[in-house]
């Protein structure tokens, strides 16, 4: 999902993150124009934080880019950096990577979710200017950003349908990424072999680290990105008649808490829930290795990250002391991931908060691709601007449910004091803002 400039997550201040560990400014000479732009960026960021508009990162970065368009290359190209891109999981993976790289020293990272050029610039505009960078980059913006800063490593996780009202662009994104690899001869790509679109994109790069991070959503990768024939699949992978096939991974998720890592088996205990986050951690650890971080140190640093911008966090819902664990599911692939995560935990009541604003995608049809039948047996409560659409979906899934005016009302109607709240993008953002007031 492209993070709309006006809707950067504002409310949650990450606790104890490595990116706040700043040292003194690196004595480097920027052009006068870039120095002015850095000042503009800081002023604007401060102003927008005070006004409560966005995280501040974004607005400052935007203004700075206008003052000095070459600035991204100037602040980014002479340091070691990694870019993380995907439809789902890029924020979490960036946070995990920042933690792992933090074992080496200060890290620059756009932890606020602002992931287009301006957000990346804002993250790179703070001293020390030689800090290694862990950057979340929007799928479409990745080529533009990566050409400017020539990262040492690029992590590619997955590509799936996100907003249905955009024309379908999954293959176009894969083709853009593939082309980018040809322009970055010194960059290593860390890529998920379980997503055929990603594997095809990464095959065009000069050096790959193949990771099996899993893919529990295959519906958007039925056709070979190379020859448009149907892909074949079995338990061991996927292949196409044109010769494209799942590469052999050097790192793989092999169990709920287990990785195969360069020929040996290691245990991984994260505080983030679910197999999907273990996949994200495997990708981040494989990338951190390229920077010289040992896997044990990387995984140890990742443990202790319990929530990412409010995701997986437990918040108070409303006045009456009800609590909810916040889960983000912004597209069908994300919902299937949350479904697996819910199945791992005690069967609490589930509140579904569902909107269809521009940032969510205006077309809610995709909920019919999600196996909501799996929620059977739980108490299900529905809210959001498109609650009626979700309610019809659940009716046809024969999942009994009730419909409520707000997530707080729903939590109040739940049979238990703690609920799981699964929300899509704007619903999640609004809930987070309300909970942090």
């Amino acid at each position: 999902m492209r993070t709309d400039p006006g809707v950067a997550f504002a409310a949650h201040c990450p606790r104890g993150t490595v990116e706040s560990a700043m040292t003194t400014s690196f004595p480097r000479r920027f052009t006068t124009r870039t120095q002015a732009a850095l000042a503009v960026e800081r002023l604007a960021a401060e102003a927008s934080r005070r006004l409560g508009r966005g995280s501040g990162e974004m607005i400052g970065g935007k203004l700075a880019l206008r003052v000095a368009p070459g600035m991204l290359a100037e602040v980014g190209s002479q340091r070691r950096s990694a870019c993380v891109s995907a439809t789902n999981g890029k924020t979490t993976t960036t946070r995990l990577l920042a933690r792992a790289l933090g074992t080496l020293g200060p890290v620059a990272s756009n932890s606020g979710g602002a992931n287009m050029a301006a957000g990346v610039l804002a993250a790179l505009s703070k001293p020390p200017f030689d800090a290694v960078a862990a950057l979340e980059v929007d799928e479409i913006w990745l080529p533009k950003v990566a050409r400017e800063i020539t990262p040492q490593v690029v992590l590619l996780l997955n590509i799936s349908r996100d907003q249905l009202d955009r024309s379908n662009e999954t293959r176009r994104i894969a083709a853009m990424w593939r082309e980018l690899g040809g322009e970055l001869p010194d960059t290593t790509v860390v890529a998920n072999v379980d997503d055929p679109l990603v594997a095809w994109a990464a095959a065009g790069w000069h050096r790959q680290v193949w990771v099996s991070a899993g893919q529990n959503w295959t519906a958007d990768a039925m056709v070979c990105p190379q020859c448009a024939r149907l892909l074949h699949r079995n338990d061991n992978g996927w292949w196409s008649e044109c010769g494209l096939a799942r590469p052999e991974p050097i790192v793989a998720v092999t169990g709920p808490r287990e990785l195969r890592w360069y020929g040996r088996t290691i245990e991984a205990h994260l505080d983030l829930p679910g197999r999907v986050n273990l996949g994200n951690a495997a990708m981040a650890a494989a990338a951190a290795r390229e920077f010289g971080v040992e896997v044990d140190a990387a995984l140890a640093a990742m443990t202790g990250l319990g929530d990412v911008q409010g995701r997986y966090q437990e918040v108070v819902l409303g006045e009456r002391g009800r609590r909810g664990r916040l889960l983000l599911a912004k597209n069908p692939a994300g919902w299937v991931e949350m479904m697996e995560l819910l199945a791992d935990a005690p069967p609490r009541p589930v509140v579904i908060d569902f909107n269809s604003q521009t940032a969510d995608g205006r077309d809610p049809s995709w909920i019919w691709d999600v196996p909501f039948e799996r929620l059977g047996g739980r108490q299900v409560l529905v809210t959001g601007e498109r609650k009626e659409d979700m309610s019809v979906r659940l009716a046809y899934a024969e999942v009994p449910h009730s419909v409520h005016a707000s997530a707080e009302d729903a939590a109040l109607a739940a049979n238990e004091k703690v609920v799981d709240v699964v929300a899509n993008y704007t619903a999640f953002r609004d809930l987070l803002v309300r909970c942090s007031r």
Binding site: R362, W366, W368, S391, V392
Partner: protein
């Protein structure tokens, strides 16, 4: 011809290729609406690449992207199962890319591809003279007032397509309805086609989830008179919400 005595078979054609917009939901809706009436239903998932069976009662084709749409059309044209089933009394609901596929021809990747010839429509990127720029993609909520002879209430849905569609001169059938909001087929102000038991439309959503009366019309064609079924109440609430949100009467 009397079709299956007890179980209504609903064929979901190539959902891997024609399933981009949740159109698999149409199969769920049809099957549930039979089961909720105490009738038997079976969803036959016709996996992409496999031959289309001839013995189903309702054939569903959904929306898809360009390359998968061509792949699907080529696969379905390997036999004439759907045409033979239709002449034996089966019904077809084709949505979006599927709607384009059931016609004479459709555009994809700069070329014109042959369709299934089930209905007399053709689709092009534009029907305007070559010097005019092609129209933009039709994306957004769509509201259609069905042909009054169908006895159906207003149809709500969502459309997302680049092509424009028109009925060929002398073709059978009638437009499904007139567009109250949105684009539909394009210039003529109508959307879709209904020709015998073949229905084509640009409405997804999925269309049968938002418009249960259309689902029951299809079911009545292949099953005969159906026991009454209210609601479900969730659908009544959804249609009311869409009516208010889209500000149509």
């Amino acid at each position: 011809m009397s079709r299956g005595p007890s179980t209504t078979r609903i064929a979901l054609i190539y959902p891997e290729l024609l399933g981009t917009y949740g159109d698999g939901g149409n199969a769920i809706v049809l099957a549930r609406r039979l089961r909720w009436r105490g009738l038997r239903a079976e969803i036959v998932n016709v996996a992409a690449g496999s031959p289309v069976p001839e013995d189903c009662d309702i054939y569903l084709l959904g929306g898809g992207e360009d390359a998968p749409q061509v792949l699907a059309a080529d696969g379905i044209r390997q036999n004439r199962a759907i045409a033979r089933a239709v002449s034996g009394g089966a019904a077809v609901l084709a949505v979006c890319a599927g709607y384009q596929v059931i016609g004479e021809s459709f555009p994809s990747g700069g070329e014109i591809h042959p369709g299934l010839h089930l209905v007399g429509i053709e689709t092009r990127r534009s029907f305007a003279p070559p010097e005019t720029p092609p129209p933009g993609r039709a994306v957004g909520d769509i509201v259609v007032e069905p042909d009054p002879r169908l006895g159906l209430p207003t149809l709500y849905g969502y459309e997302n397509h680049a092509g424009r569609t028109r009925r060929l001169p002398g073709a059978g059938g009638v437009p499904l309805g007139t567009v109250q909001r949105g684009i539909g087929d394009g210039d003529g102000g109508t959307d879709g086609i209904i020709d015998g038991r073949v229905v084509g439309t640009y409405l997804h959503g999925p269309v049968l989830a938002q418009n249960p009366a259309l689902a029951d019309l299809l079911l009545s064609w292949v099953h005969g008179a159906l026991p009454p079924l209210d609601g479900p109440p969730e659908t009544v609430a959804l249609r009311e919400a869409r009516r208010r949100a889209l500000a149509v009467s």
